[in-house]
């Protein structure tokens, strides 16, 4: 019978105890999710910083592993909280004004266009259009969408990571999806 894989918390503890392999295993579990989150949050204009911020995030994890408390939050919640903070710090250093979804209401003004052909991404071009549309989302909506879609976090944890209430997190996620569909549908119409 195969042993159950180590939990994130166990790997972190092992890392704190000096097991380098444990950290590598943990990294491999979340590398893609973390990097894509950082990269899409930064958008095309700041894409160059993605590698550094991703690395800084993992260094923070490595340094603070002993402080991780699985009773307070899951590892992905902790990881994305740190990653999100790194992105915000970067924006602050770069003096980028972080607009907090001023246009959330306008996203709901137009009706949800429903499924779009882009929901089945089968080419590089469609993939690029999808991520471009995501990078055009207001930051908070983008954050909620990325955490849900790639991070697979439940709403309660999205709320924790972004420091808002559940209702706000839910609204942001809903707006993000509606807006994405609107943008993708409009692009589709342009292409036809």
């Amino acid at each position: 019978m195969e042993a159950a894989p180590a939990t994130d918390a166990q790997l972190l503890r092992a890392h704190s105890a000096g097991d380098a392999q444990a950290f590598a295993r943990l990294y491999d579990r979340y590398d893609r999710a973390c990097f894509h989150f950082v990269r899409r949050m930064l958008g095309a204009a700041h894409a160059d910083a993605a590698e550094d911020l991703h690395q800084e995030t993992w260094i923070s994890i490595a340094k603070s592993a002993a402080a991780f408390d699985p009773d307070k939050a899951s590892f992905p919640t902790w990881l994305f909280t740190i990653a999100r903070r790194k992105v915000w710090d970067h924006f602050r250093r770069q003096k980028v004004a972080v607009l907090v979804s001023a246009d959330e209401e306008s996203a709901m003004a137009a009706p949800d266009p429903g499924p779009t052909p882009l929901e089945q991404v089968q080419s590089q071009e469609l993939a690029q259009r999808m991520v471009t549309a995501i990078e055009a989302l207001p930051l908070e909506q983008r954050s909620a969408f990325l955490l849900s879609a790639y991070g697979e976090l439940p709403l309660s944890e999205i709320a924790l990571v972004t420091g808002v209430g559940l209702e706000t997190a839910k609204t942001r996620l809903r707006y993000a999806r509606v807006r994405l569909r609107q943008v993708l549908a409009a692009e589709e119409a342009d292409h036809v």
Binding site: Y27, I59, D89, V98, E119, I134, G163
Partner: protein, 296 residues
């Protein structure tokens, strides 16, 4: 399923597919190597820092021990050099009483009573410093001068004078001196400690250490008082850590908020290269983030 669970959306899957199309495995492998190497370096730094901390702690303890021993030694030497009464005679066999330790059996009332009622004699120190030989030779002089100290001592002396059988092992003259003597060195030591404390209390490093310690322990009143006294808000302790860093580490958001409001630097780094901002990030506490102005 609660209202708050995320309903899977086809868009989520589409996005994951999009990223899979755009993934660059080579870049990913290079990134992995870089991150793991950096993490490994960090672990080494952490280990060496831990070792340094242990050495520093060990050094501190050793210094404290040496300091304590020095104080004890100084006190002991002071005590040793202070004027002493003639050494008490060795307990003599009952049939050969010591000449300078007249027991009650040897001279019960006649010697003691007049002494007890006599006015205080200023000759105490003189009597104490007198060579034992003088006492040995002059019992009548030795007894009053060494037993009678002040008027306050009279009752004790009187009780000693009562015909209670007195042990030969406890010569009468040794008691008053033994009680009176420690007062002087103890008072001097207390004074020395007090003045040492006064001397260091005002020093900047001491006040900085107090600020950092108060922040770590959640003593907000002390933190406020020290800041109001002009202690720099970014003062550091031996590890190069500020009060803000300590308050974040110790989960003291109220103190962190206070220090932040007083202008504490979030980006100043400790000796390990960590800033308060890093520490707050590691805490992943939205409340703390908001308090420190880190949340968007």
């Amino acid at each position: 399923m609660s209202d708050y669970d995320v309903t899977p959306d086809p868009l989520d899957k589409a996005y994951v597919q999009a990223e899979a199309f755009l993934d660059d495995e080579e870049a990913r492998a290079a990134r992995r190597a870089r991150v793991l190497a950096a993490a490994s370096r960090e672990a080494e730094i952490q280990t060496s820092r831990d070792r340094r901390t242990i050495w520093r702690l060990g050094g501190g303890l050793a210094a404290a021990a040496v300091g304590g021993l020095s104080v004890l030694l100084a006190m002991h030497m002071r005590e040793a050099s202070a004027p002493r009464p003639p050494p008490a005679p060795a307990p003599a066999p009952a049939n050969h009483p010591a000449p300078n330790a007249p027991s009650m059996e040897a001279s019960p009332l006649p010697a003691a009573k007049p002494t007890a009622l006599a006015p205080p004699q200023p000759a105490k120190v003189e009597a104490e410093t007198r060579p034992p030989a003088a006492d040995a030779n002059d019992l009548s002089a030795a007894r009053p001068s060494s037993v009678v100290t002040t008027a306050r001592r009279a009752p004790e002396t009187m009780s000693e004078a009562l015909p209670v059988p007195q042990s030969v092992e406890e010569p009468a003259q040794s008691r008053p001196v033994a009680r009176a003597k420690p007062a002087a060195p103890a008072a001097m030591a207390a004074q020395a400690f007090s003045s040492a404390e006064k001397a260091t209390a005002g020093s900047t490093s001491d006040q900085a250490a107090r600020l950092v310690a108060a922040a770590a322990s959640g003593r907000i009143g002390e933190v406020k008082a020290l800041l109001e006294r002009g202690v720099p808000v970014d003062a550091i302790d031996a590890d190069g850590e500020t009060a803000l860093m300590k308050s974040i580490r110790a989960d003291q958001p109220a103190i962190a908020t206070l220090l932040h409001a007083r202008g504490a630097d979030l980006d100043r780094e400790n000796r390990a290269g960590e800033s308060a901002r890093d520490m707050a990030a590691a805490k992943a506490d939205p409340g703390l983030d908001k308090a420190l102005g880190l949340a968007p």
